[in-house]
Amino acid sequence: MSDERKTIGSGGKAGRGNRQTSPSAAARALAGAPAARKPVAKAKPKVTEPKPAATKAPAKKSPPKKAAPTKRPADKAAAPKPRLRAVTDEDAAAAAAAAAEEAARRTRTAGAAPLSAGIPIDEIVVAVIQAAQRVLGSDWEARVATLLATIRKRMSGDYEVDEFGFDPQITEVLTAAIEPLAEKWFRLEVRGVENIPAEGGALLVANHSGTVPIDGLITGYAVKKYAGRDLRPLGADLVFSLPFVGQIARKVGATLACTEDAERLLTTGELAGVWPEGFKGIGKPFAERYKLQRFGRGGFVSSAMRAQVPIVPVSIVGAEEIYPLVGNVPSLARLLGLPYLPITPFFPLLGPLGMIPLPSKWIIEFGEPIRTDAYDPESADDPMLLFNVTDQVRETIQQTLYGLLVDRGNAFF
């Protein structure tokens, strides 16, 4: 059946004919056989032995033809699938056996399910149980029950989100989903976890890079995994205007980077994360990697000061190399309302394949907290002080980045 469907150029080398008319002269010459050969003869794709082609008959239709003389009466409908390889005696025997079994199965009762014919149902059950034990551990029954109950609760809308739309259950699932990306793909190394306060508010300030803000995702993962706290990222308004992206961002606890939200999070004792470089940071060319851009307008310092929480400088090494930004299409970006339209060595050249981040090595270092409770909350209105503290945070991160780059060595190996 599959043979009939094939037409010119759909299989094998060029010039071997289409198996319905006679093969071309070139094909006959290549086959090296006399013109008396059957029209199915074709160029052999896998010539392993220099034997005469006539005995090996390397053709698509050969297996059934070879098998036919031995056990033809067994079955006529269930011919084995034609293969594009040399036919040996073993193959012929196997084909015959398969044909015989197929025939036998057909002659058996039509009511029996073909799946249960081979494997008894209890063996399948045992296999499933063993698989469950291997994946979920010995208390798999309780775990499966919990999982099913959770799914049922989700389906009936029986869960709670906070005012920001933060959904701890979804965050848990996503953290687990990111783990292979962070640990295996980026080979993440985390330093200075002890600098993240175990409780109470703190503002994590990090450098931003990588064309696509994956660094925010990985930082959130690192904080959750190694410090056991939920990071509440503060994102640009573009994030929340994009469909799907904005929805997921809210569910993992992100909110708009504005003073109201930052202060609300910090005063309620949450761990907020900011990337003050913003689009200037993630959209900078690859040549300027690890050179910190302007740290916004210092709004994050005033928020931390008003809430009297420490600022934790976070240095992220590795994000710069995931999508090396070598070009930009400002006019198209403006048309689409985006801050930049990236061109990387692989995007858009390779299409969706170019969207796979390069496997750079990552190091995230949480630096020593910079205390703000030494200043009064009112000093948040002193611009000079804000600029000074902003510069202090920026310099700390920049120096740490240089150190981490030396430690890391090669970006990929």
Binding site: G157, P243, G246
Partner: protein, 327 residues
């Protein structure tokens, strides 16, 4: 001092219920008289409310205030447009408020003005902070329709406050009330058999409990609580969560042309979507009610989720209930 209260828009479901409830409170609570005013007859029995059929868009309202010796005006005639009244809604909301305020400014008897505003005044946009406090302004989403009306109405009330500083002005910005007997856009929306939603967005919504809204308004009348206060049940309900609890299927529609498409879908399903709802259903809106608790002095009795649950119990179960929905 027993108060003589004028309630506008008593043909509306909420205002008529409130006016009747206020009249039932009577002298014991310091309410001597309740006058209801609207252009249409109220749907139900108004009880002890004296109904005056008049249009607040005309100077007649000034005469009503003078004749009835009104000292407290409760302006509840600011409503989102309903189907078939789209064109008239702006007239009624903005021009009605202007005439009413003009009448109040002339009337020396008026000492208190309470505006039943809406959280729609904050608009709805991706640039919104997570929670709006009373001092914040709308970032976007107030350029047309009901949100624009309500922003204009509030600005006129602020102007009135400037001109008559001795009048106590309370602006109550309430999230939409969810109650089977109250006709609000979201209640209509949730009662539909299918819920059209914007693809890729899951808005955070808040609802006000009916009794909380009544109680806050009553306290604003009986006590003196000048200022602006948000009213909304604590917590949020996501649209997806609400749909799952209702057991009604969500129909995701692309963001462009959502309003038209959603209306088509709902009309095909034998229901209707009120205009101006699509922005709320895209970006959602959450307000901070700490001022109501700390300054106004009222503790809300119901969270948004509880309000929603009580409303859900009054609806028929949705088609998806078999796989969840009603617990």
């Amino acid at each position: 001092m027993a108060r003589s209260v004028l309630v506008t828009g008593v043909a509306g479901t909420f205002a008529s219920l409130f006016a009747r409830r206020l009249a039932d409170l009577g002298e014991g609570a310091g309410i001597s008289k309740v006058v209801g005013i609207d252009t249409m007859l109220p749907p139900g029995d108004l009880g002890g409310v004296k109904f005056v059929r008049a249009d607040i868009r005309t100077p007649v309202v000034g005469k009503v205030i003078a004749v009835e010796d009104v000292d407290t005006v409760v302006h509840l005639d600011v409503n989102p447009p309903r189907r078939g009244r789209t064109g008239g809604a702006k007239e009624l909301n903005v021009i009605g408020t202007m005439q009413l305020l003009a009448a109040c400014q002339r009337a020396s008897t008026v000492t208190k003005f309470i505006l039943g505003s809406s959280t729609a005044v904050y608009g709805s946009s991706p640039r919104d902070p997570a929670m709006f406090t009373e001092s914040l302004l709308a970032r976007d989403g107030v350029r047309s329709g009901f949100p624009k009306d309500i922003v204009e109405v509030e600005s006129y009330v602020r102007g009135f406050a400037r001109r008559r500083p001795e009048v106590i002005i309370t602006t109550l910005r309430a999230a939409q009330i969810l109650h089977p007997s109250i006709d609000t856009p979201l209640a209509t929306y949730f009662a539909s058999p299918v819920l059209p939603a914007v693809m890729g967005f899951d808005p955070r919504l808040q609802f006000t409990d009916l009794n909380d809204a009544f109680a806050v308004l009553e306290q604003a009348i009986v006590k003196d609580r000048p200022g602006t206060f948000n009213i909304a049940g604590d917590g949020v309900v996501l649209l997806s969560q609400a749909a799952r609890r209702l057991g009604r299927p969500i129909i995701p529609l692309p963001p462009f042309g959502f309003a038209t498409a959603a209306r088509r879908v709902l009309r095909a399903a034998g229901s209707d979507i009120p205009p101006d709802l699509h922005r709320l259903l895209t970006y959602g809106r959450v307000v901070d009610t700490s001022a109501l608790r700390d300054i106004f002095g009222y503790d809300l009795t119901r969270t948004s989720l509880q309000t929603f649950e009580e409303f859900r119990d009054s609806l028929r179960p949705g088609v998806m209930s078999v796989v969840g929905g009603r617990a």
